[in-house]
C-alpha cells in the first residue's frame, strides 16, 4: 500500500510538472461579434467663407484581412442649401497629400487618408443652413450644418513676454487673456510656425472648455520662471476665474523646447484661436483618448461621439481669428 501511495504521489507530481500553466491562445469565431457592418465617416468643419469641402471615408472591419482600404473616391457627396444642391468632386491623391502636408508634419506615409470632395466655386455663408449628404454603395449618411458667425470669437488680450533663442529652437512666451465668455465655451488655439525650409507647422496648444461654473484657481505670475511649467509641456493655464457669471481665463504658454524643427531668420509665428461647438470639442477630445488608449488593457473603451446620422465623424462650423503674428529677424 505504501508503494502504491508513493507511486500515486509520483504520478501526480509528474503530471504537475508536465502541465504548463502558461497562457494558451485560441482564435474566436467572428460570428459572435455584433456591429460588424461598415460605416461612413464624414468630416466637415468649415469657417465662414471656406469653400465647400467634405472629407469622407469608411471604416475598415478590423477583423477582415481583405478589407484594406478606407477609400471612398466614388462616393456621391452633396451640400444642400435650401433648393441649391451642389455635387462635390473628389480631388486627386496628389492634391490630398499636398493639402494635408500644408497642415501636418506628423502625417505618416503609410497612413491612408480620407477622400476629399470639394466644390471650389461655392463658399459657406454665415447664418445659412446646410445639409451634407453622402452616398456610397449601400451606405447613406447625412448631417445638418449651420455656419456660425466667426468674429469676434472672444475678447482677447495678448502679451508677448519674451522670445528666447535656445539650443534646439526658438521659444516664444505669451500671456493670453480671454474675457467675455458668458457661458459654456469651447475653443482651440493654433500656433503656426512658417519656416523657410520646412512645411508650415501647426501645433495646437490645447483644446479647452470653460464650463459655466468652473472652479476658480489662480497662480501668481511671480511664481513663473524661465523654465515654467516644464520643458516638456507647451502650455499651462495660469489663471481661470469667474466674476459675475463671466469667466475669465488667462494662460501662459510657450513653444516647447522639444519642438522638432529649427527656426531661422524670417520665420513667422502665428497664433490663432478657433471657436468650436460642443460636438466638435467632444469629437476631438474623445478621438485623442481613443487613439492614446489603444492597446491599453486597463483603459475603458472610448466611444467617439458623432452628429452624423447613420455614420461617424463630425460636421460643424468653426469661427477663426488670428491673434498674433511675429517674424523673427
Amino acid at each position: 500500500m505504501k508503494t502504491f501511495n508513493n507511486l500515486l504521489h509520483l504520478l501526480f507530481i509528474s503530471v504537475l510538472l508536465s502541465s504548463c500553466a502558461g497562457l494558451f491562445v485560441n482564435e474566436v469565431d467572428l460570428d459572435k461579434i455584433k456591429d460588424l457592418e461598415k460605416k461612413l465617416v464624414v468630416k466637415c468643419n468649415p469657417a465662414e467663407g471656406d469653400y465647400y469641402m467634405v472629407a469622407v471615408q469608411q471604416t475598415k472591419v478590423i477583423f477582415n484581412s481583405t478589407d484594406t482600404t478606407n477609400k471612398v473616391d466614388d462616393a456621391q457627396v452633396f451640400v444642400i442649401n435650401g433648393t441649391d444642391t451642389a455635387l462635390l468632386k473628389p480631388i486627386s491623391e496628389e492634391q490630398i497629400l499636398k493639402f494635408y502636408r500644408k497642415y501636418a508634419i506628423y502625417f505618416e506615409a503609410n497612413v491612408e487618408l480620407p477622400s476629399i470632395f470639394v466644390d471650389s466655386t461655392k463658399r459657406f455663408v454665415a447664418g445659412n443652413f446646410y445639409k451634407i449628404l453622402v452616398k456610397y454603395k449601400n451606405l447613406e449618411s447625412s448631417a445638418d450644418l449651420v455656419i456660425d458667425k466667426s468674429e469676434p470669437v472672444f475678447e482677447c488680450e495678448l502679451d508677448t513676454l519674451s522670445n528666447i533663442n535656445r539650443e534646439y529652437g526658438l521659444r516664444t512666451v505669451f500671456n493670453l487673456s480671454i474675457n467675455q465668455v458668458e457661458s459654456e465655451a469651447y475653443y482651440i488655439y493654433r500656433l503656426f510656425n512658417y519656416g523657410t525650409n520646412y512645411y508650415p507647422v501647426s501645433n495646437t496648444l490645447d483644446t479647452f472648455s470653460i464650463p459655466f461654473s468652473y472652479p476658480i484657481f489662480t497662480y501668481r505670475i511671480s511664481d513663473l520662471n524661465d523654465e515654467y511649467p516644464n520643458t516638456d509641456q507647451s502650455n499651462s493655464i495660469i489663471a481661470l476665474s469667474s466674476k459675475d457669471g463671466v469667466a475669465k481665463l488667462s494662460f501662459f504658454t510657450e513653444m516647447a523646447s522639444s519642438f522638432k524643427f529649427e527656426t531661422t531668420k524670417d520665420d513667422t509665428v502665428e497664433l490663432s484661436i478657433q471657436k468650436i461647438d460642443k460636438s466638435y470639442y467632444d469629437y476631438l477630445i474623445k478621438t485623442k483618448m481613443n487613439s492614446d488608449n489603444k492597446g491599453n488593457p486597463f483603459s475603458e473603451p472610448t466611444f467617439i461621439p458623432t452628429n452624423v446620422i447613420n455614420g461617424l465623424g463630425n460636421v460643424s462650423s468653426v469661427g477663426r481669428k488670428s491673434l498674433y503674428q511675429f517674424s523673427y529677424k
Binding site: 460588424l36 478590423i62 475603458e300
Partner: protein, 799 residues
C-alpha cells in the same frame, strides 16, 4: 427623501398598530427567561447562528456572534427545546420553566440532518425571518477542491447563487449585479479592504483560522450597512478551551500552521494561524544561477491570532488580530551599482471586544476596531563609483479606527431587539511619497495627500413574531458621513424590512426590502485584485452610492431526505454608481496629476450613473451522512446608465451574466476516503471590442489618428465559462492525530476558459505570437486562457 420619510412613518405606524393588535389578542402570560451559550463539544468554542427552537410555541432565536442566546417563555410550563446548526447534530431536550435558567447546549459536529424526534420544522432557510442569506460550514469549504489545493473562503462564496466570479482564478466577486467594492467584508468586526493575495488568485483568509462564514445578499438587517450589495461576515475561531490542538499543512505553493489551546482550561484560550508561500525561495537558486548578482521573487504571508478570556460569568474579552502581506521584490547588486525595487501591500486588522451580559435578557458587546490597507513601493539606486544614491518611496492606503457597541435585548417572548451604533474615522492616503537624493546635501522631498472623514451609524431592529406563523424583522438605520473640509454632511435613513410566513408543510414565503448607502468608493481599473485600487471618500461632487432592493422567496425543506431549497427573485435599483470616464484608466495617472492644492483630481475622472439588477436564484442543499453538497443557479440581468458613457444609453456592465450554475458535492467513500468535486458554468460576460477603424483627418494640431470604432458597448459576449474540479482526500488516524493527503485536479477536462481577449497587432508580444497566433491571418480576436488542467497535492496533519 420625502418618500423615505413617508415609508419610515408608514412602517412605524404599521408596526405599532400590529403590535397593539397582537398584544390585545395574545395576552402575554407571566414569563421566565432561558439563556446561555451554544458550545462545540470538542473545542468548547462558542457557535454562531445556532437556532434554538420551541416547537409547541413555534418560536425560535439564534445564537449571536458570541454564541449567546436568550428566549423568554411562559412560566410554569414544560417545553421541548431543539437546537440545530448546519454541520452539527441537533440537540433535543425538555425544560420546565419554573424560573429563569441558564442552559448551555453542547453540539457535536455531524454531517447528518437527522430528523428530529418531534415532528416539527427545522429552522435555517425555512424558518429564519431573514432572507438572501447563506451560511457555509467551514468544513464544506475545506472539502471543495481549489486551484493548487489552497482552500479559499471567497472562492467557495463564488459558488453560491447570486454571486458571480470575476476573471479566471480571481477572488473578486459580484453580488446581484454589484461591483466588488460594494461588498462589505468583515473579519471579527473589522473591515477588510483588500481581500486578495497574489493579484487576486488567492484570498487573504486562511480557512484554518475561520470559524464561521455568512453571506448576506439582500434583506439586510439594520445592523449592517456601508455597502450596497453584500455583507460577508467571518469570525475567527476562538481557540480550543479544552486541549492543545494544531494542524500543519504543506501544499505546492504554501505551507501553514495552526495552533490553538487553552491558557486557563475552560476559561481562556488562544489560536494562532500562519501561512506563507515559498515559490520565491524555490526560484531564487535558479535566478542566482543565471546571474549571481540578481535576486527577485514574490511571496505572501498571513497571520491570524486571537485570545479570549472569560473574566467572569457575565464578562468576556476577545482580542483578535490579522496581518497579511504580499511582497514582490527585484534586486540587483554588483560591485559597481545596485538597484532595488520592492512592492508590498496588505491588510492589518485588530479588534478588542468586551462582552457583558447585563442579565438574561440583555447582552452587549463593545468593540474597538482598527483596520488598514497599505500599498508601498520602494525603489532605490546606488552608484558605487560616483557615490550617488537615490531612494524613492511611494505609499497609499486607508486606515480606520472604529468604536462599535451592540446590544441584544429580548424583552418579550415575541420580540428580539438588536440595537447599537458605530463610529469610524477613515484616514485615506491616496498618495504619499519621499524622494531622497544623496548627491545633494539634505535634498529630500516629502509629500502626503491625506483625506480624513467620519462615518457613523445607529440602528435598531426587532425580530418580531406577530402571529404563530408570521415573523417580521423590521429595523431602521441612520447613517451619516462627513468628508474632510467639506461643508456637506450626508445624513440618511435606511429602512429595512423582512417578513416570513410559515406554512405547515415545512415551507415558507419571505419578502424583504432594504435601502443601503455607501460613502466610500473604490477607484479601480476593470481588473479586480490589483493592489493599486484605492478607496476614496464621497465628496460634495461625488455623492454616496445608494440602493433599494426588493426580494421575494419561497423556501422548502424535506427533512426526511436531508434536502432544503430556496428560490428567490430580486430587483435592485442603484443610483450614484461610479465608474471611470471613457478613456480614463489606471489610478497612477490620477495620483501624479495633483493640482496645486495637493488635492487628488479623482472627481474629474469618474462619472456617476444609475443601474438595476434583477434575477431569480435557486439554491438546493443536500445533506446526508455520506454525501452533501449544493446546487446554485441564477438567471439575472444587470444594466447601468451613465450620461457620459455609451452616449447615455443603457449597457450591460462587464460582469453581467445571464446564467450561472454551480454544483458542489462531497462524498465520503469510507472513513478514510472522501471524494469531492465542483462544476461551474457561467454565460459569457459583456465585453466591448473594436469592430472597425479609421484614420481621422488631421486635427487642429495636424495629427492624424487611427481610431477604433466599437459599435455599442457590450457588443461582444465572452464565451461561456465552465470548469470541473475534483479532489480526493485520504485520511488516516495516526497515533497523535490525523493526517490527510489530498490530490486533485483543477479544471479537470482542461477547458480553455477566457481570461482576457486580445486583438493581434503587429507589435503584439512575441511570446504570445509564438504561443499560437498566426501572422498570415491579419487581425483577429483571440481568447487568452490561463489555466489548463492543474493537478495538485497537499498534506496536512492535525493533532
Amino acid at each position: 427623501m420625502p418618500k423615505m420619510k413617508s415609508f419610515t412613518l408608514v412602517l412605524t405606524v404599521l408596526l405599532l398598530a400590529v403590535q397593539g393588535f397582537a398584544q390585545e389578542k395574545i395576552k402575554e402570560p407571566k414569563r421566565v427567561t432561558i439563556s446561555g451559550h451554544i458550545i462545540e463539544k470538542d473545542s468548547k468554542e462558542n457557535l454562531i447562528g445556532a437556532v434554538v427552537f420551541i416547537p409547541s410555541l413555534n418560536i425560535s432565536t439564534q445564537s449571536n456572534n458570541y454564541g449567546f442566546y436568550s428566549l423568554t417563555l411562559p412560566v410554569d410550563s414544560n417545553f421541548t427545546i431543539i437546537v440545530s446548526l448546519v454541520g452539527y447534530a441537533p440537540k433535543v431536550g425538555d425544560i420546565n420553566t419554573s424560573s429563569n435558567q441558564e442552559i448551555n447546549f453542547v453540539m457535536e459536529p455531524s454531517r447528518v440532518l437527522k430528523e428530529v424526534v418531534v415532528n416539527e420544522k427545522k429552522i435555517n432557510l425555512v424558518k429564519d425571518t431573514r432572507m438572501s442569506m447563506i451560511d457555509i460550514p467551514i468544513q464544506d469549504i475545506k472539502n471543495i477542491p481549489t486551484i493548487l489545493g489552497e482552500k479559499d473562503v471567497i472562492k467557495s462564496i463564488q459558488l453560491l447563487p447570486g454571486v458571480q466570479k470575476g476573471t479566471e482564478g480571481s477572488t473578486g466577486f459580484y453580488v446581484r449585479g454589484g461591483g466588488p467594492d460594494q461588498n462589505l467584508i468583515i473579519l471579527d468586526d473589522a473591515t477588510v479592504y483588500n481581500s486578495n493575495h497574489f493579484f487576486g488568485f488567492f484570498s487573504t483568509f486562511n480557512g484554518d483560522a475561520i470559524k464561521n462564514v455568512q453571506l448576506i445578499k439582500g434583506g439586510f438587517p439594520a445592523r449592517y450597512g456601508g455597502r450596497l450589495s453584500s455583507v460577508l461576515e467571518m469570525s475567527m475561531k476562538d481557540g480550543s478551551r479544552d486541549s492543545i490542538q494544531g494542524e500543519i499543512g504543506v501544499g505546492l505553493i504554501a505551507s501553514k500552521l495552526v495552533l490553538e489551546g487553552p491558557i486557563k482550561k475552560g476559561k481562556s484560550s488562544f489560536i494562532i494561524a500562519a501561512r506563507r508561500t515559498y515559490v520565491d525561495l524555490l526560484a531564487l537558486p535558479i535566478i542566482k544561477s543565471v546571474d549571481p548578482n540578481a535576486a527577485a521573487g514574490y511571496y505572501f504571508y498571513d497571520f491570524n491570532a486571537k485570545y479570549n478570556d472569560q473574566l467572569s460569568k457575565k464578562d468576556r474579552i476577545y482580542v483578535s488580530a490579522y496581518l497579511g502581506r504580499d511582497k514582490f521584490y527585484a534586486n540587483y547588486n554588483s560591485p559597481l551599482y545596485s538597484d532595488k525595487v520592492g512592492l508590498f501591500w496588505g491588510n492589518r486588522t485588530g479588534t478588542f471586544r468586551y462582552n457583558h451580559q447585563f442579565n438574561q435578557k440583555v447582552f452587549s458587546n463593545l468593540s474597538l476596531i482598527a483596520s488598514d490597507f497599505v500599498l508601498d513601493l520602494d525603489m532605490s539606486t546606488e552608484d558605487k563609483v560616483e557615490d550617488y544614491s537615490n531612494q524613492n518611496k511611494f505609499f497609499s492606503g486607508i486606515r480606520d479606527f472604529s468604536v462599535k457597541y451592540d446590544v441584544d435585548y429580548v424583552p418579550l417572548t415575541r420580540h428580539q431587539i438588536k440595537t447599537g451604533f458605530i463610529a469610524t474615522q477613515h484616514k485615506f492616503t491616496p498618495l504619499a511619497y519621499s524622494i531622497i537624493n544623496a548627491d545633494y546635501i539634505g535634498q529630500k522631498e516629502e509629500r502626503t495627500i491625506g483625506i480624513n472623514s467620519i462615518e457613523g451609524a445607529a440602528y435598531i431592529e426587532d425580530d418580531w413574531k406577530v402571529f404563530r406563523n408570521l415573523n417580521i424583522l423590521a429595523g431602521v438605520r441612520y447613517s451619516m458621513f462627513r468628508p474632510q473640509k467639506n461643508p456637506r454632511i450626508y445624513n440618511n435613513i435606511e429602512p429595512r424590512f423582512s417578513t416570513r410566513y410559515l406554512f405547515k408543510n415545512n415551507s415558507s414565503l419571505k419578502a424583504s426590502y432594504a435601502e443601503m448607502n455607501q460613502y466610500i468608493h473604490l477607484l479601480s481599473n476593470s481588473t479586480p485584485g490589483l493592489p493599486t485600487d484605492l478607496w476614496v471618500p464621497a465628496t460634495s461632487r461625488i455623492r454616496p452610492q445608494h440602493s433599494k432592493q426588493w426580494a421575494f422567496g419561497y423556501n422548502k425543506e424535506i427533512t426526511s431526505i436531508g434536502l432544503e431549497m430556496s428560490i428567490e427573485a430580486y430587483y435592485k435599483k442603484t443610483k450614484n454608481n461610479i465608474t471611470y470616464k471613457e478613456g480614463a484608466s489606471f489610478l497612477v495617472e490620477d495620483v501624479f496629476n495633483l493640482d496645486f492644492y495637493d488635492t487628488l483630481n479623482y472627481e474629474d475622472r469618474i462619472v456617476s450613473g444609475t443601474g438595476y439588477s434583477t434575477g431569480i436564484e435557486l439554491f438546493m442543499r443536500y445533506t446526508q451522512e455520506r454525501f452533501n453538497g449544493w446546487i446554485g443557479y441564477t438567471i439575472s440581468r444587470t444594466r447601468q446608465t451613465y450620461a457620459e458613457i455609451n452616449f447615455g444609453k443603457e449597457f450591460a456592465p462587464k460582469y453581467d451574466r445571464l446564467h450561472d450554475l454551480s454544483i458542489v458535492g462531497s462524498y465520503k467513500i469510507s472513513e478514510k476516503t472522501r471524494l469531492s468535486g465542483s462544476f461551474v458554468f457561467s454565460s459569457g460576460n459583456a465585453l466591448t471590442v473594436p469592430v472597425g477603424e479609421y484614420t481621422t483627418t488631421p486635427d487642429e494640431s495636424g495629427y492624424t489618428r487611427t481610431v477604433e470604432y466599437y459599435g455599442e458597448r457590450g457588443n461582444f459576449r465572452a464565451e461561456p465559462y465552465h470548469r470541473l474540479d475534483i479532489g480526493l482526500q485520504k485520511i488516516k488516524k495516526k497515533k497523535h492525530g490525523t493526517r490527510t493527503w489530498e490530490y486533485g485536479l483543477y479544471n479537470a477536462y482542461s477547458r480553455a476558459n477566457p481570461f482576457f481577449y486580445a486583438i493581434e497587432r503587429s507589435d503584439f508580444d512575441d511570446d504570445l505570437l509564438n504561443s499560437g497566433f498566426s501572422n498570415d491571418k491579419g487581425l483577429a480576436l483571440y481568447r487568452i486562457s490561463l489555466f489548463p488542467v492543474i493537478p495538485y497535492i497537499s498534506y496536512s496533519y492535525k493533532f
